[in-house]
């Protein structure tokens, strides 16, 4: 019986895959374990507004949610909308899997500067920005005092190096936490420094690779210097492990996002300062967003757009920013909110002030190749495999190839 059934199904299979169609059900893939209350509220409001339409809100754990959305899309059964890292938008767009976002003009003005850059390719916006983060430097004041240096913001790289060296020499701890593992935040950490030195990876206007430059060389050289005052074996460390090290008071400073405050040991006396700038730039930061992408081929793209817009504006977005402890994605005062969670809080100011000078995560089609280019270059200087000059030249070439 089973054999017969299998045979007929096998035959049907050979004739092409059939996707079962249902009465309008939107499939929303969201990352995380438990559904976010604000999301649930939006879903309910949406369903109430549209008779006969239901939303299947699927929570997929972090680390696998993006892959799931991609697998479904590649298998011909895409979700209606999904929460994706903005870095994937270019590839999705190039492969005709998503449709451009329809952000209306008022909303557009209210976004923090540079945010829309993270979802724009050649003038078209491809995602609805959903979560945003910038980075700053956290410094352990107790260690600084122990080392005999004033606990204040180092302005330039030389200041930073001096401070790190003092901590390294005079205390048990290492001066700075450096990430060099084969992991995505190795590139992120480096970009913070690069953008604080006026460097660019890809020219947003022309799309050319601009990695091979004087600014990059200076940054890489600085990285090489930092190895001497950093923790042992940076190539085995990535940022979340650095947090552990910081919590144990074993490094004096490192770069992290706004969630750092919550992740750090309460007993540590710390300050949050802008990323020090190099000889060729000003304090910058790395702008990373995650977006809601609307997939193509579901048959109800308009409804999907509406749901996405509802999720990413207004109360729902504000609730997410507050709860996740993120850098605010909108200038909420422009949207009419007065008592924002970041008002008059010096902590938040460090993360917000750097936004205008910040650079985006480069939007390329082949993200992993981009990451490899950086990892290779960074590990090269950490392991002292090659000279700064060679490494940057090679990285420039590899980036050209990857584009």
């Amino acid at each position: 019986m089973k054999a017969l059934k299998t045979l007929t199904i096998g035959a049907a299979m050979l004739c092409g895959t059939a996707i079962s169609a249902q009465a309008e059900e939107l499939h929303f893939i969201m990352c995380g374990g438990e559904a976010f209350q604000a999301d649930l509220d939006v879903v309910k409001a949406f369903e109430a507004k549209h008779d006969g339409v239901t939303v299947n809100l699927e929570q997929v754990p972090w680390g696998t949610c993006q892959d799931k959305a991609l697998t479904l899309a590649a298998a011909g059964n895409p979700a209606s909308i999904a929460y994706m890292g903005s870095r994937t938008l270019r590839q999705l767009a190039a492969n005709d899997l998503i449709v451009p976002a329809q952000i209306n003009a008022d909303t557009r003005d209210a976004y923090q500067p540079g945010i829309l850059n993270t979802v724009t390719i050649s003038g078209t916006e491809w995602g609805y920005p959903r979560a945003f983060s910038t980075k700053s430097m956290f410094i352990n004041c107790d260690l600084a005092e122990q080392a005999g240096v004033a606990c204040e913001a180092p302005k330039t790289w030389d200041d930073m190096y001096a401070m790190a060296k003092a901590i390294n020499d005079n205390t048990d701890a290492a001066g700075v936490g450096l990430a060099g593992k084969d992991f995505d935040n190795t590139m992120h950490q480096f970009l913070n420094y690069l953008y604080s030195n006026g460097g660019t990876v890809i020219d947003t206007a022309t799309g050319e690779a601009k990695l091979d430059s004087k600014e990059t060389r200076e940054t890489l050289e600085f990285y090489g210097k930092l190895v001497d005052v950093a923790q042992e074996g940076p190539t085995a460390w990535e940022r979340s492990q650095l947090t552990e090290l910081y919590n144990d008071s074993k490094i004096g400073m490192y770069i992290n996002g706004p969630w750092g405050r919550g992740a750090h040991n309460e007993s540590i006396n710390e300050i949050t300062v802008p990323v020090p700038h190099g000889p060729s730039g000003t304090n910058g930061t790395l702008l990373i967003t995650d977006s809601i992408a609307v997939f193509k081929g579901t048959g109800h793209e308009d409804l999907a757009h509406e749901l996405a817009t509802m999720l990413t504006t207004g109360d729902s977005q504000y609730a997410l920013d507050t709860e996740w402890g993120l850098t605010p994605i909108f200038d909420y005062e422009k949207l009419g909110r007065s008592d924002t969670y970041y008002k008059d809080d010096a902590y938040w100011m460090t993360f917000i002030d750097a936004i205008p000078a910040g650079g985006p995560e480069p939007l390329v089609e082949d993200f992993k190749s981009l990451q490899s280019v950086f990892t290779n270059m960074i590990q090269g200087i950490i392991l002292k495999d090659d000279t700064v000059d060679n490494l940057v030249t090679i990285a420039g070439e590899e980036l050209d190839e990857a584009l």
């Binding site: 059939a18 995380g32 374990g33 696998t64 697998t71 979340s240 090290l245 919590n247 969630w259």
Partner: protein, 280 residues
């Protein structure tokens, strides 16, 4: 008498076992320690064996952070058991055929079976998704059971075959002489003798199923209630932070049922049953 050891030999054996087990259990020690520590101070340098803020809090909290944890553990066991039963049913006859019988294309077909093992499930994910979708099996327990069985069959056949080969042919021939049919011989003569091999292969299949579930579960299954433990453990991973201590506590708790089952099973790995059976 043969099994009597001198005192020195006994000490040596216990010492060797201690070293062996230390190697195997060291990470577990580390994981257990991690499950006892508070999240803000998970790691200390240099290494510290004990500290004042150790507690079993994580073991309590984990049920709250991931409410369906108990269900996930049950699912894991259910799926693994189903896979094992189904696989063994398909594997035992096939392994016997490869061990004993001559037939055309024997070596080639065995090679092809083994070839299936050489592909990892990860690369076949998308076509497999389509196949399961067409069969209407997505989001059911079957979505995780069926691919698991398919990938474990070659391993099962390959391993069981070598155990069945070792059973003396004389016993089977003795049964033929008495007029028994092949099926009868297989059922009543061969299988009882193959029990140690069967147990071990079934265990291997069970554990293989337990290990593979993850990939199939996250891709082919959407229903949270059906998810097995490894997929559930991912729920301890947050947006930027991971509750390691609870995750480790959950992982260790999930391992316990399997260990207990094996503790009961291992006594079936008994010493050679064929002693004296073939004496003329």
């Amino acid at each position: 008498m043969m099994d009597r050891y001198t005192k020195l030999q006994l000490v040596g054996i216990y010492a060797a076992i201690a070293v062996f087990l230390t190697f195997l259990l060291l990470p577990f020690f580390e994981m257990f320690m991690a499950s006892l520590r508070p999240l803000e101070h998970l790691f200390r340098s240099p290494y510290q064996f004990w500290s004042d803020d150790f507690s079993f809090q994580a073991y309590r909290d984990m049920w709250v952070t991931v409410p369906l944890l108990g269900r996930y553990i049950m699912n894991s066991i259910f799926i693994s058991v189903s896979v094992t039963v189904l696989t063994m049913i398909l594997v035992v006859p096939a392994a016997y055929a490869y061990a004993r019988l001559k037939f055309p294309f024997k070596s080639i077909s065995l090679g092809i079976f083994l070839g299936v093992n050489m592909f990892t499930g990860a690369v076949l994910l998308i076509p497999l998704y389509r196949v399961l979708g067409t069969m209407g099996l997505l989001n059911t327990y079957w979505a995780m059971i069926i691919p698991g069985v398919a990938f474990l069959i070659p391993t099962g056949i390959w391993l069981l075959r070598s155990y069945l080969e070792k059973i003396p042919v004389e016993l089977e021939e003795a049964a033929y002489v008495d007029g028994a049919s092949r099926m009868y011989t297989l059922r009543r003569v061969v299988l009882p003798l193959a029990v140690p091999g069967l147990i071990v292969v079934a265990t291997a299949v069970f554990i293989g199923a337990y290990a593979q579930q993850f990939l199939f579960a996250i891709t082919f299954n959407q229903t949270r209630e059906y998810q097995p433990l490894p997929a559930g453990l991912f729920e301890f991973i947050g947006y930027q932070t991971v509750t390691w201590n609870q995750m480790m506590a959950a992982a260790l708790t999930g391992v316990l049922p399997v260990m207990i089952i094996f503790l009961f099973l291992q006594k079936y790995l008994v010493a050679g049953l064929t002693a004296g059976a073939v004496k003329e």
